[in-house]
């Protein structure tokens, strides 16, 4: 019995810090919302400028069907774009590692794809592919592509001189150096890029929906703003934000599972 005391002593402490981690920001948010609600009533701020939190909450509940129905195509486009954009970036980075010639000839094109603003290229894609799923997926993919490519390359190159020497002393082939060293070295960089890519993919899908789409959160935002429907605008914003947060969190969970060997630390990110 007495031997079990140390774990008992440490456990409540850990729980309290875990709860406090969530409790403190929640208190701040609650206070801000309360202040907003109070100020709206007290100073008579018109609803189209800033609807009261209670009105937005009401709208969220009443329009939940519409909101969720429009979230589906946005989520679809961002997920597909995320998969295609990151997938092609990873494959291209692997190609670059194996062929300097491929890197020399294709990398400038990849840089160019980044220099053209997504917002500028979106109308073009909508014009070519219509208002369906395709332009949305392409824009989401395009926006994810470059940061992942750059990070993946940086990860592959992040091997130390000692690691290279270690593999040389073992007489490892290029393939073994890639599979047993470079691939693992790239993973923390990949996940740093993927976390950025989640929110970027959602932005890409919404931007595409602004320009021309019959449905989706982006279309709903445009529609609500034309109708001066501020509560619906805020509600759409919250739904898009909540979805992006879930997406971001999901990648974080996968990262913690895949990189369980790594004490969680920051990795420099090239965006």
């Amino acid at each position: 019995m007495t031997t079990e005391r140390p774990p008992e002593r440490t456990r409540p402490k850990r729980k309290r810090t875990g709860m406090r981690k969530w409790l403190d920001p929640l208190i701040v948010v609650a206070l801000l919302l309360g202040l907003w609600e109070f100020a709206s009533v007290r100073f008579g701020i018109p609803e189209y400028v800033a609807p009261r939190p209670s009105v937005i909450a009401e709208c969220l509940a009443e329009e939940s069907g519409v909101l969720l129905r429009n979230l589906v195509p946005t989520a679809q486009a961002s997920l597909l774009g995320f998969a295609i954009g990151n997938g092609s970036a990873i494959l291209l980075a692997i190609g670059f590692v194996h062929s300097k010639r491929l890197e020399r000839s294709v990398y400038p094109l990849a840089v160019m794809s980044k220099t053209i603003p997504t917002v500028a290229i979106s109308p073009l894609l909508v014009m070519i592919f219509g208002s369906g799923l395709t332009p949305k997926v392409l824009i989401a993919a395009l926006i994810c592509f470059f940061p992942t490519l750059v990070n993946m390359l940086k990860g592959f190159e992040s091997v130390t001189a000692n690691e290279v020497e270690l593999f040389r002393i073992m007489s490892a082939s290029r393939r073994e150096v890639f599979l047993k060293l470079r691939l693992y070295k790239s993973l923390p960089y990949l996940f740093a890029a993927l976390r950025i890519a989640t929110t970027n993919a959602v932005i890409g899908a919404i931007v595409a929906e602004w320009i021309g789409s019959a449905d989706g959160i982006g279309a709903l935002i445009v529609q609500a703003s034309f109708n001066f429907d501020a509560p619906l605008l805020y509600a759409s914003m919250l739904v898009a934000g909540g979805y992006a947060l879930l997406f971001f969190g999901a990648v974080g969970v996968v990262e913690r599972i895949v990189l369980r060997w790594k004490p969680m630390g920051a990795v420099a990110v090239a965006a």
């Binding site: 000692n162 690691e163 270690l166 002393i169 073992m170 047993k180 693992y184 060997w261």
Partner: protein, 264 residues
Amino acid sequence: MTQLEHSEVATDPGTRPALSLSGVTVEFESDRGTVCAFRDVDLTLRDGGFLSILGPSGCGKSTLLRVIADLVQPTAGTVSVLGSSPGAARTARAIGFVFQDASLLPWRTALQNVALPLEIRGAPRGGRTPAELLELVGLAGRENAFPHELSGGMRQRVAIARALVTGPRLLLMDEPFGALDEITRERLNQELLRIWQDTGTSVVFVTHSVPEAVYLSEQVLVLHAGPGGVRALRDIPLGYPRDPAIRDSPEFVAVAAELRAMLG
């Protein structure tokens, strides 16, 4: 004995020297012209022997070790490892290397790190298993620990086990305990002597610590700080096994003082 006529590496101990250098010179090209790391190093290490390379930082002792390991090509001179070229010795897996930072792969457990060389070239006949080697270096029970869960000294033990897993005849160590605290370093010095005697491998040990070189070695090669070569090759007149208390003996103190004087 040191000719290169045999492409195969001798695996039977005692017949040839583990290592033989003659006139080995390394020069680097840099912005300010040619820089000489060291010149005309001659050296013979008996099979099963223990040699330390002692010198201040920047004297080229790590470079010399890398010449033996076939990681750096000498500008001039010949190197013979167990009667073969360093390259042949490396591909025959006769060389084990321990880095100053353990250079463990952080995504692999201790056991998986030790097993890495076997994944690349298969297990040698009659060799010790990774688990047996972890036991040899005093890490039984920590097989599944990740490097970040181990102390600096433990990580270096794993690195030694990894270097030994192919059953090398020559173990090269580049300041392996340089980053450790004094207490851990002295304990690992003692353990290294035990491992050396247990495995029968020859050791070349690079260090900038005089007591470490004296405590471990049969012979100490002292290198210059500036461009140059061997200042001295000194035999250490102490028998094995060596007890840690030997550090306080008059013989030990005298040899250490002599080496320290050579370093200037």
